[in-house]
Symmetry: C2
Subunit: 159 residues, 2 copies
Amino acid sequence: MAVNLDNFDRKLLAEVQRDAQVPQNELGARVHLSTAAVNRRLRRLAEEGVIDRYCAVLAPEKVDYPLTIVTTVEVESEQIDLIDAMKRTFAQCPQIQQCYYVAGEWDFVLILTARNMEQYNELTRELFFSNNNVKRFKTLVSMSRVKAGMSVPVDLSDE
Amino acid sequence: MAVNLDNFDRKLLAEVQRDAQVPQNELGARVHLSTAAVNRRLRRLAEEGVIDRYCAVLAPEKVDYPLTIVTTVEVESEQIDLIDAMKRTFAQCPQIQQCYYVAGEWDFVLILTARNMEQYNELTRELFFSNNNVKRFKTLVSMSRVKAGMSVPVDLSDE
DNA sequence: TCTGAAAATGGACCTTT
DNA sequence: AAAGGTCCATTTTCAGA
């Protein structure tokens, strides 16, 4: 599952997670590698799927999506096809940024973004109230996005 | 707070959220704009802060961080400096990808990533058990990352 | 690691609204 | 003025020696 990475790879991954616009010659200077070596490594990391994709991260409030809401959902039945159907519904909804199928007190945790409470209300109607397999759900409204991102730690080893 | 955007901007934002590696001439072809116009718009969007940053998204399991865990935390006191201290602690922790300070049954929601349960256990010790202001916390272990990302919907208007 | 070709970015300048 | 288009210089990427 995991891929063999040396410390050059790890440093590069740390850099491009933070900022993917740094040119390869600058990356090379930072990690002490030639531009060409950086180029080859980044390509390899992308081919191996270590780097899943490159994307732009928007400031939600600037595109008028100021609300972030965490919703926990408990289902009626864990029957596999019912769960799969819910996963598909949640995955398709553009306002749902993240959906985790979890073990514990709840079955799903959703991270949602919304223009306002009315839109969230509307979403709860579509996603939860009109779904017979939703037993109950709980809403936690974010007052502050203390930290937001998808960064994974890359621990340097002392190989 | 929100910025004025026309449908060209919105289409570009949708594209670069999905894939920031598409060259500007290709983006131009997709949205019917010249390369130079795309270039100008993307720069402007970045300057205005609509585009916060560009970054690489890693596959957590490939860098040996296969676990995603959602943790909800209730605090003892909501005294402002105690809360601020916790926010700083959470923001600094590399395994914490996201931290929301929320209203509702809990005070914080954390999205964490970990190499294994032992590491998570260790983290709970550092973050929660050794913090006097943590009243209780609950752990939800993700069995499936149904959807993960930071994408914000960009609704086209019919201006 | 170096060199050079190809591609992509980004500025200059002109035109339209 | 504000924004689009074309053209050209510069920068960056990326393959071959």
